[in-house]
């Protein structure tokens, strides 16, 4: 069983090779992608019972450099991300096949292979047991995403790719320094609930270290002001955007952020160093500013990009607040946001495939022609805005509770305000879609089934997650487990320190 | 005291030759002159080593007829001489190769002046 995490990582790497081998047989190639996705999900899912019982599944560490082992370990927190990435990979693969075929894209082999490598590294990041492993997969992810960003090979794509590389590679170097530094402070640098750096160096050093980490992680997590690449990368095909936002890249960033805060430093240490407030402030500001920027964007995918910037800062905010409920909310939001945002991107993609329309103003009346797509979009948007009964509500509710727990009432206000802004920038899309006046005669013309089925599924899941947050994949329970390992719940603390 | 002064003067002689060579290589524009400067530089090294091998009141390192038990004090140190024989050979070889290169350059570019060469290379 201990081979599980490793197998999960390797499946898609092998698939990448197979995809390359079958480059001249599109059907076979895509069958490989799908098969790999299903197998990977099965492997990850098979780890779930052990983790739910409070155990961990570890692979044999492979030492690369003294004190630097390649070490995989599936814990509750990692499982959240791994389950999310592997389940979404199946849906994204189905969607990609439909999208790429109907769009007539070239370089499809490179696309599927890179995609597989990206998912591999996302799982690697999820299961990384120490900073070294985390860093290695993080960098592989950086490189593997690049071919996807520049997939269209035109000027704009290349410029976007450059911008992407500039941000992520520079950040990668900052992360490298931080990783090396922490490895020299605490040999092994193995993630531990509650952190391992406490007391290993002066507070000044630790502060500098934290800043380096945040720069390193923040670029991928698109924390303002390091978010510049994300809107530029929207030139990529839509499934890639879905990957960037929901499955791997940005998610890996915020995932890393929680890892760093919770498992490297520990929430208490962050608070002692006085960094929690700064991080929370940055996250809060990002939430609001990005929402406002989203309001001003007329390009559909870019609006979604800013929405991501804003939404993912919820997670950072939760980590920064560091109270139990805040962490639960943050971790659950990783999954919740994944399903909701991918719905929106899938919708944007199928609209583009069908009509080649990218601007919101052009969407007039399309909702009547593509009811499934727009219906799903509406559901996703409501979820992101935090409507009760939707997945987004669960995370927001917990975040709000957490903010109160941590005595930062102001962030409750931020959350509410951001919810309103979410309505404000999503509502016009829905409205234009369903009620905008269109000159064209009305007829039902949904995109192909490969496109609308995945998005319908994700939309349904995001409702289900809102009503039964623990359904199927047990995201909610995992989130609780992970959060409780980071912060002992308050009553327990009282009981422990009772004398 | 006199011996020490003499010694320093000798070392300075070698050092001066070395510097003349270095200066020539760095500052002279003509490639043949650079080559000659390079030879001076090598001679400086040779002189330096030979100075190291010298002993007062000693003879060249060839055992005199009838000297059954040669004593180190009576003969100068043969090792630097041997080493410098090698250095001379190296110097000759390097010069030969350098001349070959110069001939090649002259055949192709018709000049051996560095600034003109740089012009022609552009």
């Amino acid at each position: 069983m201990s081979g599980g995490p490793l197998a999960a990582v390797l499946v898609s790497l092998v698939a990448a090779v197979a995809i390359f081998v079958f480059r001249n047989h599109p059907n076979l190639r895509e069958a490989v992608t799908l098969a790999a996705a299903v197998i990977k999900f099965a492997i990850v899912f098979s780890l779930l019972p052990t983790v739910l019982d409070g155990g961990v599944v570890e692979s044999q560490p492979l030492e690369l450099v003294p004190g630097w082992a390649l070490h995989l370990r599936a814990d509750a927190f990692g499982m959240v991300f791994a389950l999310l990435a592997s389940s979404l990979w199946i849906l994204t693969s189905v969607y990609s096949i439909g999208y790429m075929r109907s769009g007539g894209y070239t370089h499809q082999t490179g696309y599927y292979a890179s995609f597989a490598i990206c998912v591999s590294s996302a799982i690697g990041i999820a299961f990384a047991a120490n900073l070294a492993t985390f860093f290695i997969f993080y960098e592989i992810l950086t490189i593997a995403t690049y071919p996807l960003v520049i997939h269209r090979r035109n000027e704009e794509a290349i410029a976007g790719g450059r911008k992407y590389l500039a941000y992520t590679l520079i950040a990668g170097q900052a992360l490298l320094v931080a990783v090396v530094w922490s490895a020299s402070l605490a040999p092994g640098a193995t993630f531990q609930p509650g952190g391992f750096l406490s007391g290993s160096a002066s507070s000044g050093t630790l502060q500098a270290l934290f800043v380096l980490f945040i720069i390193g992680i923040g670029a991928k997590a698109a924390i303002m002001p390091l978010h510049g690449w994300l809107p530029a990368a929207m030139v990529a095909p839509t499934p890639v955007s879905a990957l960037l936002h929901a499955v791997a890249v940005v998610k890996a960033g915020v995932f890393g952020c929680v890892r760093i805060v919770g498992f490297v430093f520990g929430v208490d240490l962050i608070r002692e160093l006085g960094l929690a407030n700064i991080l929370a402030f940055a996250a809060g500001t990002t939430i609001l500013i990005a929402s406002i920027r989203a309001l001003g964007e007329d390009h559909l995918k870019r609006r979604l990009a800013y929405s991501t910037v804003s939404q993912l800062s919820y997670i950072v905010l939760g980590a920064a607040l560091g109270s139990l409920h805040a962490l639960v909310g943050a971790i659950f939001h990783i999954a919740a946001h994944g399903f909701m945002k991918i719905t929106l991107f899938f919708c944007a993609g199928s609209i583009y495939t069908k009509t080649h329309k990218e601007y919101i103003a052009d969407l007039r009346g399309l909702g009547r022609e593509m009811p499934v797509t727009f219906g799903a979009f509406t559901l996703g948007a409501l979820g992101l805005a935090g409507m009760p009964l939707f997945a987004g509500f669960i995370s927001k509710w917990n975040l709000g509770l957490g903010a109160l727990e941590a005595d930062h009432t102001i962030y409750v206000g931020v959350l509410v305000l951001s919810g309103l802004l979410n309505f404000a920038y999503f509502f016009p899309i829905v409205y234009t879609g369903f009620f905008g006046k269109s000159d064209a005669p009305f007829r039902f013309k949904e995109a192909s089934v490969l496109l609308w089925l995945p998005l319908a599924v994700t939309a349904v899941i995001s409702i289900l997650l809102g009503i039964f947050p623990d359904i199927g994949l047990h995201f909610y329970e995992l989130a609780w487990q992970a959060a409780e390992s980071l912060v002992a719940p308050a009553p327990l603390m009282l009981a422990g320190g009772g004398e | 005291m006199e011996a020490e002064t003499l010694s320093v003067v000798n070392y300075w002689l070698a050092a001066s030759l070395f510097l003349i060579g270095l200066y020539g290589i760095l500052a002279r524009p003509h490639l043949v002159r650079k080559l000659m400067a390079m030879n001076i530089l090598q001679v400086a090294v040779i002189v330096f080593f030979i100075i190291l091998g010298y002993k007062s009141d000693a003879t060249p390192p060839i055992v005199r007829q009838g000297d059954e038990t040669p004593i180190a004090r009576n003969y100068i140190n043969p090792l630097p001489h041997t080493l410098m024989l090698t250095a001379i050979v190296v110097s000759v070889s390097t010069t030969g190769v350098a001349l070959a290169l110069l001939i090649r350059i002259h055949r192709r570019f018709g000049t051996l002046d560095e600034s003109e060469l740089i012009e022609k290379l552009k």
């Binding site: - | 011996a3 020490e4 003499l6 010694s7 320093v8 000798n10 070392y11 300075w12 050092a15 070395f18 510097l19 270095l22 200066y23 760095l26 500052a27 100075i51 190291l52 091998g53 010298y54 002993k55 007062s56 009141d57 000693a58 060249p60 390192p61 060839i62 055992v63 038990t69 040669p70 004593i71 180190a72 004090r73 003969y75 140190n77 043969p78 090792l79 630097p80 001489h81 041997t82 080493l83 024989l85 090698t86 050979v89 190296v90 000759v92 070889s93 390097t94 030969g96 190769v97 001349l99 070959a100 290169l101 001939i103 090649r104 055949r107 740089i118």
Partner: protein, 247 residues
């Protein structure tokens, strides 16, 4: 960039000057018989060379025996230089239409007096060269010196009479002869390797001598190799520098 470099060229110069003149004071006094260079390592060469290597010329003893490996390297340097000149100038006389003698040797002095004198001198020069090689063990001399003198004789022939009459060797063959010289050297060393001694340990040579005498024979053998190489390569370099190129 180039100008900037030339303008600051004096910087390393001044630095080197300062260092060199500064260090001179702290070096051991010249001619001091108690200096480290005169008291460590070298006394053995002086006191035991005759007994151990059979050479009364200690320089030869060190050159051809104690540090014979250095000398092997040195001989290889010469050969390398010859090959290098050959490759750089590409002086491979094509088999079909070689340059005529006049073209090949533009520096010929055609005077009868020079011719007659050189005819008289050259046998003696070559004889002297051989003497210098053979007597390198007891007096100043050795393979390098002898080789240089012998090469001078051949080059004199070339200068006076062109390449045609005497020792008309193409560079390809002079290179081969040079290689043979080094092969004689390494061969001598390899023979001792086969007799379970270290490379260049002449005491392993299968010759009817003992002790110093045996080693002396070994040194003589490698000196012969050096002589061959030096002669050949000197002639080769001269030829290559004065011949037209293949291109």
């Amino acid at each position: 960039m180039q100008q900037l470099l030339q303008r600051i060229a004096w910087l390393p110069f001044v630095a080197a000057a300062a260092i060199l003149f500064y260090a001179a004071r702290d070096l051991p006094t010249m001619a001091d018989p108690n200096a480290p260079a005169s008291t460590h390592v070298s006394p053995r060469y002086i006191e035991s060379a005759l007994e151990e290597t059979g050479a009364s010329n200690m320089v030869t003893a060190v050159l051809a025996d104690y540090r014979a490996y250095d000398t092997l390297g040195e001989t290889v340097v010469i050969l390398t230089a010859g090959l290098a000149c050959l490759l750089v100038l590409g002086a491979f006389t094509p088999a079909r239409s070689g340059p005529t003698e006049k073209e090949a040797m533009p520096y010929e002095f055609g005077s009868d007096i020079v011719d007659a004198t050189s005819r008289l001198l050259i046998p003696f020069i070559i004889l002297f060269a051989l003497y210098v090689v053979v007597h390198g063990h007891t007096s100043p001399g050795g393979g390098f010196q002898g080789g240089a003198i012998c090469a001078a004789a051949i080059i004199l022939v070339r200068l006076v009479r062109g390449r045609a009459p005497g020792l008309k060797l193409l560079p390809t063959y002079t290179v081969a002869i040079g290689s043979i010289g080094v092969l004689v050297y390494t061969g001598t060393g390899l023979v001792s390797l086969f007799f379970e001694k270290n490379f260049l340990d002449y005491s392993g040579l299968p010759l009817p001598f003992h002790g110093g005498h045996l080693r002396e024979m070994g040194s003589l053998s490698v000196e012969t190799g050096v002589f061959i190489t030096v002669t050949a390569v000197m002639v080769l370099i001269f030829d290559v520098l004065t011949m037209g190129s293949e291109e």
